[in-house]
């Protein structure tokens, strides 16, 4: 138990909840929400990996010793990755909403099970 902390497991449960939503839901908005939850879970997971117990934020303040700072601060690379992936997720979701709006325009519904122009 010591080796596998609760936080990792909970982040993965969140991921699984999102996956369930993407697989089982039929409403386009619900699918977007589920995908967002999955992205959320992954971002959280990356940050948890970069965490250091009793650490400080990776922003130096005046008068701090560099070596002391380096031994205290949490992982800056993980945070940079998360910022990038948040923005990428935002752009994917923006595009998704655009397509969903246009789909609604064509079909007058968000229910994907009613969209049957494609054969398979």
């Amino acid at each position: 138990m010591n080796n596998m902390p609760l936080a990792y497991g909970l982040a993965m449960i969140l991921f699984a909840v999102g996956l369930y939503g993407v697989v089982c839901k039929k409403n386009a908005v619900k699918i977007i929400i589920s995908l967002l939850i999955m992205e959320n879970a992954v971002n959280l997971f990356i940050l948890l990996i970069g965490y250091r117990k009793d650490g400080i934020a990776p922003v130096m303040v005046k008068g701090q010793e560099a070596s002391e700072f380096a031994s205290m601060a949490v992982d800056p690379l993980a945070q940079a990755i998360v910022i990038t992936s948040i923005v990428i997720g935002l752009s994917i979701v923006a595009l998704m909403i655009a397509i969903a709006i246009r789909l609604y325009d064509r079909y007058k519904t968000f229910d994907t099970s009613k969209m049957k122009d494609l054969k398979g």
Binding site: N3, L10, V29, I37, N40, L44, R52, G55, V59, T84
Partner: protein, 173 residues
């Protein structure tokens, strides 16, 4: 503390997915996002927390504004029982696999295990970031200096998504 907020977050996520009312689903999604922002503050990630809060607000505004007034806000129709059971079973199996895989990860909060060396880049950033780039916010230093190429890609992705949205919603075919 983090675990407590995470429990709350998972409940919010389940409500967001299962709720029959679209508005409450979107609001619960907001709860998920803001809970993540709070966790980020606990994890000492102020930069990310700021971006997360702002992105969450943008997404909620866009989702509500763009989708809500278009459709019935209440979802109708019976739920398919078998789909649900299948989904839960599949997700459970998935989770068991994951639990097996997570055991070998380093202990939570143990970063880093090794001494300062070039082989662990984040250590290098912390130790030499200020001297090499001259700025004190190491996360910005990584984003815009050490890994600036990633940021170019990221800005381009955003540009591409904007262009795509404009193209999809244009008037003429």
């Amino acid at each position: 503390m983090i675990e407590l907020i995470l429990f709350f977050k998972i409940i919010a996520a389940i409500i967001a997915i299962e709720s029959k009312n679209l508005l409450s689903a979107i609001v619960s999604l907001g709860a998920v996002g803001f809970a993540l922002a709070i966790i980020m503050v606990f994890l000492n990630a102020p930069d990310v927390a700021i971006v997360q809060v702002l992105v969450e607000v943008v997404l909620l505004v866009i989702l509500v504004r763009a989708t809500l007034h278009r459709d019935l806000t209440d979802l109708k129709g019976k739920r398919e029982f078998f789909v649900k059971v299948f989904g839960i079973v599949a997700v459970g199996a998935f989770f068991l696999g994951i639990a097996w895989g997570l055991i070998s990860l380093p202990v939570f909060g143990s970063f880093p295990e090794t001494a300062v060396s070039v082989a662990v880049p984040s250590e290098w950033y912390l130790a030499h970031g200020l001297r090499q780039t001259g700025i004190s916010n190491i996360v910005t230093a990584v984003l815009l200096d050490y890994r600036a190429y990633d940021t170019l890609g990221e800005v381009t992705v955003l540009f591409s998504a904007i262009l795509g949205a404009v193209v999809i919603l244009r008037k003429k075919r």
